[in-house]
Symmetry: C2
Subunit: 442 residues, 2 copies
């Protein structure tokens, strides 16, 4: 066996620091046959770490892919290491699921790795990401515009995944491989479809090394430094969610923006929830925050209310429109229902969700629908008509609730703005006539 190099010693220190769960870990090595994973194989061997190998054939490079399999299986055989191998129809999977080849390969391999971990009781999956990958990730995130979380780089440990080569640059790994006489397959992973990664790796990084030749080592430490703030952020985000969540929405006091920490956390919260950063910036920085304004993200909405912001997952616009027949319980959605029934007895107006009409004033089926802009009613006790939108403003209904208001119509005329107003035109003149009671249940 080759003598222990300095790299091998540093590796062991790092590896032992990452392995926290068990004194004698059983690990699964993701081995592509490229330089990085071949070095990792050698290091695990040298330090007598208990491991097996997993190799994926994504069948993306024809004969080349097959040669990778041969290299890996020969290596495992020579060293008596158990090898798990699988063939993927990556292109088919990508097409079937409407995702990129890169994403397909990632999904396929991590699903399989997870299955192996469960089936064979491995403690960890070990991958050969190195310092260059780490910087590339940060640079890619910077280019695409992430917050501080994206500047952390790749985590050295993340659940069951360990990446003990993150402290080493490509150059160091290559020098090690040569010094140990290792055999690897050039570009085994590089020729994949990862255009952006390869652009960064092969074109951008060499240029940046003109500014800082020790780029990757520098980033290994500065990424850690940034990571401490990401830890802070995660903690604060968790607390923020706990503090302001009400059922399926968040109600956040406006004054919160006066405090630097709360402001920064709120912005990250909105970004995490799917608002784009330009929208957030407009909202937070500018004065376009008057009550009633509304901001939309991907699957989420923010309403500016009096004294607070209301953030809710945007509903699939269930513009309700359905018939209400007499004496049957009509289901609306999510346990809501409406019932119009013949009624005899004492009129009780104490529940705003229970109203009464003379039967002859109505024509069944009634129509229950979401209110629309321009809808009007002559409110009970008034002479003229009024816009529903004005009624909602008068009632100080939270903007986030406005879209949900329903109206009930008879022959095209609104007889009830549910929970809020009945029509003066449909008021009961003679209680002795046949009556109808309408009850809305939410």
């Amino acid at each position: 066996m080759a003598r222990k190099t300095q790299l091998a010693t540093r590796f062991l220190t790092i590896f032992n620091r990452l392995v926290t769960s068990t004194p004698k870990a059983r690990v699964l090595l993701a081995l592509s046959g490229g330089l990085d994973s071949i070095v990792l194989f050698d290091l695990l061997m040298q330090h007598s770490i208990d491991f097996e190998v997993a190799h994926c054939n994504f069948k993306l490079r024809g004969e080349e892919s097959d040669k990778d399999v041969v290299l890996v299986s020969n290596l495992c055989e020579r060293h008596h290491v158990k090898m798990h191998c699988i063939d993927f129809e990556t292109e088919v999977y990508a097409k079937e699921n409407g995702i990129s080849i890169e994403m397909a390969a990632r999904e396929l391999r991590y699903n399989w790795f997870n299955n192996l971990i469960l089936q064979f009781h491995f403690d960890y999956l070990v991958t050969a990401h190195h310092a260059g990958d780490n910087f590339e990730t940060a640079l890619l995130n910077l280019t695409k515009g992430s917050g501080i979380a994206g500047m952390k780089g790749i985590a050295a440990s993340n659940g069951k995944i360990l990446r003990p080569l993150l402290a080493f640059s490509k150059e160091e790994l290559k020098a090690y491989a040569i010094s140990q006489g290792l055999e690897w397959r050039e570009d085994a992973s590089n020729e994949s479809n990862e255009y952006q990664r390869n652009l960064l790796r092969n074109k951008v990084l060499p240029l940046l090394k003109g500014i800082n030749p020790h780029l990757e080592h520098t980033f290994y430490n500065s990424g850690w430094r940034t990571g401490l703030w990401v830890d802070v952020l995660k903690q604060k985000l968790f607390a923020f969610d706990e503090k302001y969540k009400l059922h399926d929405s968040w109600e956040v006091p406006v004054e919160l923006l006066n405090d630097a920490v709360n402001k920064a956390v709120f912005v990250e919260f909105l970004a995490e929830k799917g608002f784009d950063i330009n929208t957030i910036r407009n909202f937070v920085e500018k004065e376009e925050r008057k009550v009633g304004s509304q901001f939309t993200g991907s699957g989420i909405e923010l309403y500016v209310e009096r004294g607070y912001f209301s953030i809710r997952n945007s509903k699939v616009k269930t513009s309700i429109h359905q018939e209400v027949t007499l004496n049957s319980d009509i289901k609306i959605e999510k346990g809501k229902s409406i019932i119009a029934e013949d009624f005899k007895g004492k009129l009780d107006y104490s529940d705003p969700y229970c109203v009464f009409f003379e039967k002859d004033d109505l024509q069944f089926p009634l129509i229950l629908r979401t209110w629309e802009f321009g809808d009007r009613i002559q409110p009970f006790g008034m002479k003229g008509t009024k816009l529903i939108s004005d009624i909602l403003i008068d009632k100080k209904l939270p903007n986030s609730k406005k879209n949900e208001v329903l109206v009930l119509l008879s022959k095209g005329e609104i007889i009830w703005v549910i929970g809020l107003k009945t029509s003066n035109k449909f008021k009961i003149i003679n209680k002795e006539n046949p009556l109808v009671r309408i009850i809305y249940k939410a």
Copy 2:
């Protein structure tokens, strides 16, 4: 005058937001004659903003520099704008001060701008930094390895300096300049000695735009997002300093590292104080923090004490070594002194900084010096000798104080470890003999 473009309208909104101090600001425009500043000149003119121009001739590009001056002065004359112009001997200044040409040009120009602001009562200096400069700054900082502060980019306003073009990309500015028929001097600033900037601007940025064509706009917003955390950091750093500063050192409890926020702030504090990030990482992350260990930064030292860390500006190593004659007050440093004098009277051992010897046991001048590794003394009342270093450990002297301990010698033998031990070999046998009293004053 050309019609107002969309860019001009956006510019005015941004400019008005930045100008907070006065409704009608008087500004000084730094005008090189390059595309960016020529556009800024045009925008200030268009919106009738009250401004004058400052142009520096750094004399770094011979005739080209002179042509810049001609362009700028013609422009100012045509529009009746007052122009301030200055010639700098940049290369001479750089050489004399041992700094780079880039740094020299920066110092010269900002000093002059400041003088103009004071002399002519301008409210602001306006510079033409654009979105590309902004991203370049972040990318440069990422490459060199900064913390989150470096990922903020350039501030749109910083004291009296405003940068109202930060929201616009180079392409937008160029399209504007062409549409308005503006005349500028290509590369007026680009050919300067800023190798790193030009590498990023001309080589790296075009590549990254292959990943995100709207790179600069993206960063304009994500830099703002990061900036919110930099605001948090600044606030917390200020509070940290207030809380843990004691005279000229900081005493920070060890438990602080258990809290995510405190840990992140402490790391930034150490980085700001001049520790390199690798040193900090070793110190914070690893177990190399046993009491007595010491970490050195640039001009600063950290000592691990029992229960706390002591951080102090590193002293210029005043390894004290001086003669102490009889009956004269010897000054040491910073108000400290030692006096050895003939003594008659009652011996009082209550002050550890006042000791007594028989005169005949001593040979003057005595030598007062900083203790050295390997120094030994036979402590009073003991038979054998003991290392000074062991005495300091026994006394539980804070590590940060150990370097300052002084010893007093007669004929090469240590008679007093000041404030701590006297030598058994020099103890008084007969009080009736002529005596000497030695007092150390701090």
